[in-house]
Amino acid sequence: MPIIINDTSLDVPADPRVTLLDFLRHHAGLTGTKKGCDHGQCGACTVLVNGMRINSCLALAIAHDGDTVTTIEGLGTPDAPSVMQQAFVDHDAMQCGYCTPGQICSATAMLQEIAAGWPSDVSTNLDGDISASAEEIRERMSGNLCRCGAYANIVSAIGEVAGRDRV
């Protein structure tokens, strides 16, 4: 079975060593997904697999046969950016921009996790409503490093989207 990447079907690579990340960057030509560490330590490679965020450097492409992958390019384009992409632009939630696609993919899925009621380390209770407070956002986005230190603006960008979603 092929992998569906942003609505395009691609055959899995013959070489079983190819990570999902390298498959995206080298085979699919989708270089929006970044490699920062190749070891699951930075979040730059975050993509959505069947709607959930994962570090694509820690996944082998062949293991995702039949899965649906959404990358930063699939979330929106310069002509039609997603709400989250636009919020990152508006809040200057980036500097060098290298962590940015991973942050945006991560944030997109993270808000769904909050909406689904998944608790985090800072949640006060394990079930029930969780609000997308700054503290929840900080905790849940801590797998996405930003060496430029754009965190404060990242939190406000995501906060804006979370607020908008709530109304």
Partner: protein, 729 residues
Amino acid sequence: MTGQFTQDAPETECLLDSMRQDVIGKPLVRIDALAKATGTATYAAEYPVKDCLEGVLVTAPFARGRITGIDIDTCLACDGVVAVIDNEKLIARCAQGTAGEAPVQEVRKVAYWGQPFALVVAETFEQARDASKHLKITIQDDDLSDIPCDPQAVEPENQQYSSQGDLPHAMTEAPHSVDAKFTTAGHASAAMEPHAAIAQWDGQTLTVHASLQMLNYNISELADAVGLEENQVRIVSRFVGGGFGSKLGISAETVAASLAAMQLKRPVRVAMSRQQVFQCVMRRSETSQRMRLAAGKDGTLQGFGHEALVSNLPDEQFAEPVLQSSEFLYAGDNRLLTLDLARVHRMTAGSVRAPGEAVGMPTLEVAMDMLAEACSIDPVELRLKNIPDRHPMKGTPFSSHKLAECLQQGAEAFGWDSGLRKPRQRREGEWWIGTGMASAARVHNIAKAKARVTLNPDGTALVESDMTDLGTGTYTILGQIAGEMLGLDPSNVLVDLGDTRLPRGPGSGGSWGAASIASAVYVACKAIREKLTKYANVTEGELNLKDGGVEGGASFAQLLGDKELREEGHYEPGDIEDDYVAAGFGAYFAEVRVNAFTGETRVNRMTGAFGFGRVLNERTARSQCQGGMVWSIGAALTEALHFDPRDGHLVNCDLAEYHVPVNRDVPELEVIMVEERDPAASPIQAKGIGELGMCGGAAAIANAIYNACGARVRDFPITPDRVVACMPD
């Protein structure tokens, strides 16, 4: 045509203030933000190049000795392998910033653990990575007991010594004094984009897409390393995924990719692994320091001593300039400043964001906090009291000085309680809460720069330079400078950077990028304006440009017909560099909580007030300040390179073990940009802001920890174990 300007005196009249477009300083959205947010900004390793081979660097697994043999056959027998490059032109170390020539190239003579010595090239990355593990070498490694690895255990070389008056005497005479020793750990830049390059060779020209900060120097370094003339080399770096010093000079991947492409006549891509970035790119030296402060009853400084020991590899010129701002930040007649350098076999030490002040300022500012306590004076007050009128040793005037304003405005915004301070006054559950502050200072650097500006009759303009934008906002601010000067909406200014085919900029580093390149663009625009005065038949003072033409008059199309106006601006700092002490100043205020049982520190909030001359874009400048403050948190609490004393290797060579601040480590950061124009800093009256945000911020946190729980930790980073060890019972 060229406009040339060498700045020998302050530029008190800056045209930017009388222009009509009104875009300079405005918080315009970063031009490249949408490209970055949609993944369409292209970084070095991402150019689609046909038939591209993949190279993986191989590094030495020992600290010092020789590689006596490389058996490439096993490797060549691996699937897909095309070649093993073990050419004598490979570089063993990265080039220091502004080197302009190849660094050490003897790759078989190993000087540190992790030194690159070969490149395995294959059809795919997976093949190259696998084969690189099969490269067999024979080595003659020196016995570790003979290799100097510990800076404390070596006889150091003196790098800097300046003395005035008699510090020891002042220390004994003074009613209040502080004499304290500190250490700071080594740091890694850890830019998110690992070093990468794609090299292409067409038999005549070497074209390299690389991730570099200073193309104006990098082109000479690369040409020298691979044995080509500069006119045979083209480097392109349009987007750089962070640099922080680590990409000032060329590194192994750029040279290896180039040599491989030239030998194999196919394009070659080389990206360092994260581990390699840690192991063979620049580190910031660890330091040990001694601070001596002597003060009168009222806190007036009479003696000031700062001594530091740093390290580097043999033959490297760079010594972490720890004392840089100590030279002029505070008064005190009796002074002693010394910097020593120990030669050790750890990877090259070089510039990491804010070289010098990043580690010198935190210790000075903790010592000042200790002095404030000794004198029973408010720490803000103590600093205000000791701001000198001139450089305390040279007597040179300051170009402009906003430390007092930063201290006052920062204190007010933060809600600083200026009463008498005592540790352990506030407790919430397990947590001690406290506040602390520190001054910020960072020398202002400025460099020679060229830029070309073209004004088109259709009301658009083009700005060109080989300058880079590391996320600093260069693209955006240059559009604003040209827009302001030529009366154009910045969206009608195309800024083309990061290509050595364009005029030589200053490069990005040392916080000099923005002021230098923007000055070159300013000079070019001035020359265009001069021509326009003839077309419009007015004087410069009467030439009011706005929205694509003369305000309320002819458009550029009407004025110019089909003629474009093109000028190159050359800016060069002249006597201003010697006649003034120029620096950015600031103040940090932090509130922390410290866990009474575990010693863990969390930063609750932080305020920074900075004066760095004219603000070119309020939005990108704020982001730069915040970024620096985040680095202050890392330097204060978590960042440290650890070397294994048994074999000299860097133990924590990845992002799981080297702890940069994560989102949850960073609270809300309040940034105040103090109004300032500095006419002796640059013709546009701006200074740099890329580094000031981390020049002392760690001390505000350290002082807040003391105020919270009474632990005066003098070793950075202030990890929980150190807090617990210093916590009073």
